[in-house]
């Protein structure tokens, strides 16, 4: 029982950490001498803030929202752990976690679709982009587990 609990919390925290790293470090595309990212564009000569287009701002907003929702769901999990009756399901926690995963998915999709617009040819996607795509199924699975899980004892 305790093992199951620890496993679930570990999964949730892993998804959360991936989300944080993907949003903050922001190496979404890399080239030979440039990295073109969510917040800042860097070349070997210097860094400048990212373009103020509408789509990149929406990607920023969606990633931040997914972090907020995942944190909220962790907090709600601990609340519900102590206040739920026996046999109850962690619906609220699961809902928030699934919403967080949906936000990450939409952010990654928007970035993929729009990247030809603001990224020059020849640049490949960086590790933050891959982390975002990995965080999405992790968060989804974690949310589904919460919805199915029943509280015992």
């Amino acid at each position: 029982m305790l093992l199951l609990l620890l496993g679930i919390i570990f999964l949730h925290l892993a998804a959360l950490v991936l989300l944080f790293v993907s949003t903050i470090v922001s190496v979404w595309t890399t080239g030979e001498s440039t990295t073109s990212d969510l917040w800042i564009n860097c070349t070997t000569s210097g860094c400048s803030p990212a373009s103020t287009g509408e789509w990149i701002q929406s990607v920023q907003a969606v990633m931040i929202l997914s972090i907020i929702f995942s944190c909220l769901s962790l907090f709600l999990f601990f609340c519900q752990l102590f206040t739920l009756q026996k046999g109850g399901r962690f619906f609220l926690t699961g809902t928030f976690q699934i919403l967080a995963s949906l936000f990450v998915m939409s952010g990654a999709i928007i970035y993929t679709v729009m990247s030809p617009e603001w990224v020059p040819e020849g640049n490949s996607f960086g590790y933050s982009y891959i982390l975002a795509w990995v965080a999405f199924p992790l968060a989804l699975i974690s949310g589904l587990i919460y919805v199915i899980l029943r509280k015992r004892e």
């Binding site: 990212a50 103020t52 701002q57 929406s58 920023q60 907003a61 931040i64």
Partner: protein, 213 residues
């Protein structure tokens, strides 16, 4: 006491060596404008000397990407001379007040090619040692969206919806609970009244035969 202070300050001003009396020129740092609009580039200076009659203002312009600057405005001897051959002919106007140390110019009907650096140099004889000050002009076709506005808007809307849903949920629960409570109170009250009436009915009258004497 006050007169003493005034006299000492005047004496100090006179004693201050010539090198520290430099003229300080102030313009903006950067100006943004839309194509077709007018913009006022302000220039003023600070000098320890009184404003002399031979005060001069001159503005020079260096386009973005070019290394040469051309002179576009000069004020001297009480008369203003505006550009009549260069890129700003018929678009430049002097709106400053040299008596108040203001040497501002007005650029009309801006074009995209007007991006560049404008430098103002003022001289207030005998105070002529100073560093000219530059203001950068950026001309846009349409107003650009500032970074972070849309981000903040999306986050705010979603969080606001979340708070709204939570509030509505608790409100519904509260209302439903109150309605259920009031319903159960009225039912309970009715049952109580009926119950008490029933109990008074079947109470048997005292049997006189059973009363012992």
């Amino acid at each position: 006491m006050l007169t003493f202070l005034a006299l000492t300050s005047v004496a100090l001003l006179g004693i201050v060596p010539e090198q520290s009396q430099a003229i300080a020129i102030y313009t903006g740092w950067e100006r943004h404008a839309l194509v077709g609009s007018d913009i006022r580039l302000s220039c003023s200076f600070f000098s320890w000397r009184w404003t002399s009659e031979d005060v001069t203002f001159s503005w020079t312009y260096r386009p973005d990407g070019s290394r040469d600057s051309i002179s576009i405005f000069h004020y001297t001897g009480g008369a203003a001379y505006v550009d009549n051959k260069g890129p700003f002919r018929d678009r430049l106007e002097f709106v400053g007040n040299p008596g108040r140390r203001d040497g501002s110019i007005l650029l009309k009907n801006l074009e995209l090619n007007d991006n560049g650096t404008f430098t103002c140099d003022a001289k207030n004889p005998p105070d002529i040692v100073g560093r000219p000050s530059s203001v950068r002009l950026l001309v846009f076709e349409k107003v650009p969206i500032q970074a972070g506005v849309i981000t903040g808007a999306i986050i705010g809307v979603v969080l606001g919806l979340l708070v709204l849903i939570v509030v509505i949920y608790y409100l519904m629960r509260f209302l439903v609970a109150r309605r259920v409570f009031s319903l159960s109170v009225s039912k309970h009250g009715k049952k109580k009244k009926e119950g008490s009436q029933q109990r008074q009915g079947p109470v048997p009258p005292a049997d006189p035969s059973k009363i012992k004497v």
